[in-house]
Subunit: 351 residues, 2 copies
Amino acid sequence: MAGAKEKKSEPIRLGIIGSGLAVKWLHWPALKRLTDKFRVVVCCDVDPKAAQEVARLAEQDLNSPNVRVATDYREVLASDDVEAVLLSLPIHLTAQIILDAARAGKHVISEKPLAGNLEHAQELVETLRNFKNVKVEIAENYHYRRDYAKAKEWIAAGRIGQPFLIQMVSRFWTDPTTGFAVTPWRQDNQYRGGIFADAGVHQAAALRELGGEIEQLQAFSKETHPVMGGIDTVVLNARFRNGILGNLVFSGAAKGPGEGLHIFDIIGTSGAIQISEGKAVLTEGAGKDAKVLEEFVDPEHDGGYFLEFENFYNAVRENAPVVSTVEQALKDWEIIMRALDSAEARNVVLL
Amino acid sequence: MAGAKEKKSEPIRLGIIGSGLAVKWLHWPALKRLTDKFRVVVCCDVDPKAAQEVARLAEQDLNSPNVRVATDYREVLASDDVEAVLLSLPIHLTAQIILDAARAGKHVISEKPLAGNLEHAQELVETLRNFKNVKVEIAENYHYRRDYAKAKEWIAAGRIGQPFLIQMVSRFWTDPTTGFAVTPWRQDNQYRGGIFADAGVHQAAALRELGGEIEQLQAFSKETHPVMGGIDTVVLNARFRNGILGNLVFSGAAKGPGEGLHIFDIIGTSGAIQISEGKAVLTEGAGKDAKVLEEFVDPEHDGGYFLEFENFYNAVRENAPVVSTVEQALKDWEIIMRALDSAEARNVVLL
């Protein structure tokens, strides 16, 4: 069992597989705050320059001396001094490499989503049941958002009465000339669902965080973006098991002012909660009698990345339960894939 | 043929059948601006006090001398001096009285929706084909909104590129202690669809105004309101014939600050239009490069009522085409009724 022989307080010796933008942009700020908990041993990428760059960054920022560089992930998995791997891979490669890592006895924290389609994701989750000594966490940061946690606390305390409607709007423009969208595998559509699968899986996680499990859903979809491959725009209706209605309007091809619109409303019989980027506002009543009961602003809103890595450390070192398990990630992914099924077959699907 | 013997310039001699809030609150401001075009002859209501009140108002505000009062609508239809009737009736009575009016040779302007269910609405439209000399207009004011007309003009001119998503949010709280919601027939649910049918039919009209005809739709629905009968909350996905995706979140049971949220976004490949209560804003581009191209504020936004009555006058006196025909209203109503079908059967329905 990897890590079993380590002292509890020692940093996890990390191999980074996939040294692209996710590591540098999303994970780095969290890792820089966790240098007592993670030490990078090796950085890997098919592009040696990318691996070299992240290796240098790790030496500089993460208190990690002499970071090795690799271009073949199997070399990382074969390294005895690597306890755990951080995977940030093209979606269609993720499932296989998670499995190879588990087989090599390495703990895994991997970027979402689990796989390039639902079948591969299901197979992965099934197979991982045989690797009980390996911790696998899917870096679905929305499962760690403090604004959602606060909203759930308010809902559980009955502050909006009985919730009956969750409305999510996520509309933004994917600029294909900059950032994540430049990555060839995102434009080439080598996984199912395009921008909707890649980015919308966060909204699926948010729907589950705020409303619980979905029982039935229906969607229509569209490919509109002139450059990005696959589905970019989806309208999705959901019925949660508890009877709440859900609605998601997602478009990664929507031009409009501002940096994009990401607003989640939870409506209850006596009030409502609105969540936007680290802020949650609880209101009671309607119209001119409505009043704000509480406002929560996450003072260190980072989308959940810090708590995500902290959870992984605690899982590996303290045997704490993983919050964003592969089972959770499978349920998130199922919403996306079944929405695509629904849009193709023009029917209502059961989950 | 009613009105045929009238001089072109003479006001239409109107009988008002149903002297409730719609007449006083919605129609009156428009009628007060059209005293040269309408003269009230008789006011009718099952409640003689209501009829008397509107009769007095007509004498006072509408240049209408000696307005008679009736409690039986058949008396109005039998009156030779009545050329046209304005119907504002409980939904489940509307279809029958429209038809009786047409049979009596009276032109009709009637509040929406057409009927208490789809079958009655279809029968009505079918039967009215035999009454070609009678003008029938359904007072669906959304078909006359200038903000929608402006948005349609922008779309037709390619100002947002190719439109691909229409998102409508209509969330408000129906206070059962005041206004329209107090009316017993609204609380008792004697027609199909509750608040969703009564108020949401406007959104159906808006969807058609802005997106064209709907080909497929799916909805989930809910009864949440503690007092109002029937469906009050619906999430609805649509595919228009032209491939545009549509989404409507409707709730007449949603508490929240402000007088209610009614926002319609039309997203195109190069820009977007947002419409809210008489205002339409056209933007181009995304993010920080986005810019407002044009803002339209209807200087006399009244929801379309003035143009609706003016159209009726012109139809009767000048043989102008009716804009909000029964055929149009049937299509609006079909969206609502088929959404309820979809929610009950848990399927996608074709229109």
